[in-house]
């Protein structure tokens, strides 16, 4: 990668950096957010940044059921595997995404999928529970427990706003 040019008797060496990793742009993304009730009903679901082909409402519903099944089985697996008593996990990571998890004492499950390099979102999940769910859904006299939360306007708009304006939502990070 060195080019030498002669100019008035002076050699100029230019070193070109061909380190490709310096130019890889990674996208930080939040993909989707689920809230499951204790018995497996999906109370809330929103998705962003996911390619739309083939995602019928039926497919999304099937995916939600699969997600709950996974969380339920993971719980059993963790309880058996753990050297000390433990029933829940903080997150898991694969080669392409990271799933952040929070289970409340009442059995509500909050699930957030982000790209694999995102930092821990436990605080965000706690905030979603305490500042949004408890305040705008639980304390809403018109909201009945166990019903889908999409209709709960105060909750819905605030959650979407919070997640879409989060710094991890969609940004290009150049390493």
């Amino acid at each position: 990668d060195r080019v030498s040019t002669q100019s008035t008797g002076v050699h100029l060496y230019c070193v070109f950096r061909t380190d490709r990793s310096a130019r890889i742009r990674r996208e930080r993304m939040i993909f989707n957010f689920y809230i499951f009730s204790r018995n497996g009903t999906c109370l809330y679901y929103e998705e962003w940044n996911i390619p739309k082909e083939g995602r019928t409402p039926k497919a999304i519903q099937e995916e939600q059921k699969l997600m709950f099944g996974l969380l339920y089985s993971l719980r059993g697996f963790i309880t058996k595997t753990s050297p000390k008593p433990c029933e829940t996990f903080t997150y898991y990571k694969t080669s392409r995404y990271k799933l952040h998890y929070l289970e409340t004492p009442t059995g509500l499950k909050f699930v957030l999928n982000t790209d694999k390099d995102a930092p821990t979102m436990t605080d965000e999940l706690k905030k979603l529970h305490q500042e949004y769910y408890v305040e705008y859904a639980l304390k809403n006299p018109l909201y009945k427990l166990g019903e889908p939360l999409g209709a709960c306007e105060g909750f819905n708009s605030r959650v979407i706003n919070f997640l879409t304006s989060h710094p991890e939502f969609k940004r290009r990070v150049v390493h």
Binding site: L70, C86, T94
Partner: protein, 153 residues
Amino acid sequence: INAEYGGHTKFIEASMVVYSLYVISKSGGLIYQQDYDNIPRLGMNERILLGSTFHGLHAITSNLSPVSGSSGIELLETDTFKLHCYQTPTGIKFYLIAEPSHPDLFQTLLSIYKCYTDFVLKNPFYELDQPIRCELFDVELEKLLSSSPPSVK
């Protein structure tokens, strides 16, 4: 951490404890399992069940990915342990249960895979996808993963 211990000093590596290793075949069966530290001993049947459960979970997490082309679980973190998994190009899964504060175990998993290719696959008496009963494999892994601190005279 240097610990003064009755006149001798021992180097204790904090948070470098690996609790156990599980090796799952391509079809989901448990072919090797070993504990390297004091954890509650599970029965053989329970371990086989855990191995198969993990095989299923690994496959589902790959399917549930919001983006295409994802692998299964590579890292799972809880309050009491951390699970690191490596799936080889041939479909064998090696997964380690370690302390939650343990740094990345990817290199360790690759070393385990290397031990597997050297002492299991090259063993003429070993049949693929069968439970691993190769003494040299046990010995090498013990050296690699045992948490007994080296004593300094």
